[in-house]
Amino acid sequence: MNLDWEKIKDQLNKVSKPTRYIGNEYNIQIKEWNKHDLKVALAFPDLYEIGQSHLGLRILYELINAQPDMLAERVFTPWPDFQKLIRENKVRLHSLENKQPLSGFEVIGFSLQYELSYTNILTMLSLGGIPLLAAERTQAHPIVIGGGPCTFNPEPMADFFDLFFIGEAEEVLLDILAEIKAWKETGTEKTSLYEKLGRFPGVYIPSLFQVTYKPDSQIAAIVPESSHAPVRAAVGDFEKGFFPKQWLVPYIDIVHDRVAYEIQRGCSKGCRFCQAGMIYRPARERSPERIIQDLKKLLAETGYEELSLTSLSSADYSRIDNLISECCGCFTPLRINVSLPSLRIDSFSVDLAAKFQGSHKSSLTFAPEAGTERLRRVINKRVTDNDLMNAVTAAFQAGWQRLKLYFMIGLPTETQSDLEGIVNLAGEVMAIGKKFHPKTKSLRITVSVSTFVPKAHTPFQWRQQISIAETAAKQHFLQERLRGRHLELNWHNPYMSHLEGVMARGDRRIGGVILRAWEKGAQFDSWGDQFNYDLWREAFQDKGVDPNFYTRERSYEEILPWWHINSGVSIDFLKNEDQKANHEQTTEDCRDFSCTQCGVCSNLQVNPRIIGGDHV
């Protein structure tokens, strides 16, 4: 066992929730440290409870550990009290398995899930004893790789990473790691590794691209030093795709504390604001036979009391009705709860929920996203007010008393009447609720309002993001009107959304701002009690960067920071969708109608896999 760990392992009473740091979970995979040639740290830049809930981490953990010559260990961002403990004891940030410091691994893979976790990456590198800038690291240091949705515009983090992996890693990751292992044995400089890796799908080596700027601050050119253009990797055979068998069972209550089975990947509904809906195309379903077979083993193996059938839009899975019936048949008698993470706005979905929630009706969530049908056409959310009222009526009628409604403010073309639409819808939903549950005290409508943040590789990537002041004004409007005994309104911190927007569409100059803010103490920026915008304001000033430059509207002619990254979705499709938004024209789902010419299937050589039919 590592001596550093010996120094602190009996002092964990000094920190909150010490179970975050002990490892030792059921199904942990601890391989002998010195016997493996390639050691990978899977680093998640947030607390254990968040990171351990992430399916991607579980997939890569088991995939790598299944290799005889490799091992993978987990590391999460420790809370400030644990950071203090290890600093005071001169102990480096270490993995949960062999308690080895980050600097002892050959590869560190960070998951970039949301922009406000970027500063935590710097915290982890620093606590792990690793130079922050890729340029300061030699071949003796670990290779630092970033993956996850934020790599579709990783430019703000480009200075800190040796390479990014863009897209779905399951089918190519092991080949990439094998190349790194072979290169480590040669002891040559990183450039010789880069030459080999550039050929793999998904690989993007930021140091091989030079970005120049025009006097007006816009990008003049992004010039590659080699011929390799980064293209998103996609899993071709999702049916046979890798899924964890030795599901790790945490002790502490993690955010998603259940067996989460991925029943399909990708969503082709085409909501124009949604990045996930663009970057995980096409929709690919797993067969019900494999799902049930895997679930039976996973639940017996873990002892979990809940399972979830996850995907971006599980109600769209062709045989969802049968699948849920079968799951309830297998697992309800074993007192295992079945759940779906997302519902469509229709009575079909309410019926599904009734099936698995049975007599225990907690709450149902619907996401109309916008307050009026007009604005919903703009964002291509093809749901009418009538659909919503039907779904809500079905829910109240079936016995639910608590509903959650998700909306966004600041969507393109939004006017005051769209905000009023949110108020009106909430009122109508409340009226239906009172009709079905006139006497109850537990009737509750929760309205959650987030701020629209334009994301790279979506039809709205050129759009303006509303300012902090506009956000606050719109929130105030809703706060004044959405009040009442059974009504609850939630909203997002406008400063956080603003910062998220700057990073989401930022270029490499934002890297300096992130470093500066981190030096001033910024970390855990997505945590309300840790976030401090003053540090960021100062960092922007110090670096002479105007954040509003990044939230402004962009023209089709401008070179966007992520222009050299090929997501598979064609630019023409994105432009066309953006223009259709102005005309309030919708686009159908290719699952139900004909191909929408988004380009993914031909560009990435993958096919949608829709099982179809409604009998198993």
Binding site: N13, N24, Y26, V249, Y251, D253, A300, Y304, R335
Partner: protein, 235 residues
């Protein structure tokens, strides 16, 4: 229904599990072992598992208890074996006994606990530590400040301390053995006692070494009560 009383160990890194973490780890272990767990009725059925007094985070125990209800009869040795193959390192079942007659729940039954506290004291203060610890038993009152949600108050913990012995080990290590009250009538906390020693000592580890039921001067292990129910307590 078939009830069993289980004695188990919670140690090593799992000493950091909160009571809630422990309950989940045990329930999932029981599910992995495929034991026919009984559930309560109603809208929110919960597994019929009940525990003895909660252990503070960071304290080991070599003598913890839980009562478990199954819907099918299993042989106690079989339960022990099935559970030990699926429990994580740090949780281990020591003994299982069938509860033949209903008595008090563990939380009401257990009222005595013993602890072993290992402390490190530099050589030059070691004797003073032994002296001060020895005086705690003869002190008429031991007042400590307890802080909780409602504020703070002074509590006299002396009545809860029943016995204390101290043993010198090699190097700078001292072993303090404590016995005292636990449960509804008072709760002896080992760290309260150590904090009373006004010298720079460091707690190396704390282990709960025993739990008992004391009644009318008799001290009985919880496992010995399953088969000898108290008279007048038949349900």
């Amino acid at each position: 229904m078939f009830e069993y009383r289980i004695c188990f160990v919670k140690q090593n890194l799992l000493k950091y599990l909160s009571h809630l973490d422990l309950m989940k780890a045990i329930e999932r272990g029981i599910r992995r072992a495929n034991l026919p767990l009984a559930f309560s009725g109603g809208f929110h059925p919960h597994p019929k598992i009940s525990y003895g007094p909660a252990l503070a985070v960071g304290i080991n125990s070599t003598d913890e208890y839980l009562d478990l209800e199954l819907s099918r009869e299993l042989n106690p040795e079989q339960i022990l074996e099935l559970l030990n193959t699926v429990l994580p390192d740090g949780l281990k079942i020591l003994a299982v006994k069938r509860i033949l007659q209903h008595g008090k729940p563990l939380s009401a039954l257990i009222n005595r606990a013993s602890y072993l506290v290992i402390i490190a004291a530099p050589a030059h203060i070691k004797h003073e530590v032994i002296h001060q610890a020895g005086q705690l038993l003869t002190a008429p009152e031991l007042n400590v400040l307890r802080v909780n949600k409602d504020g703070q108050k002074i509590v006299n913990i002396r009545p809860w301390l029943h016995n204390l012995t101290i043993k010198e080990n090699s190097g700078d290590v001292l072993e303090i053995h404590l016995t005292g009250e636990i449960g509804g009538n008072g709760n002896l906390r080992p760290d309260d006692i150590i904090n009373y020693i006004n010298l720079p000592v460091r707690i190396v580890s704390i282990t709960r070494t025993g739990l008992w039921h004391e009644t009318k001067g008799m001290v009985i292990k919880p496992l010995d009560i399953c088969e000898k129910p108290e008279t007048g307590n038949h349900d």
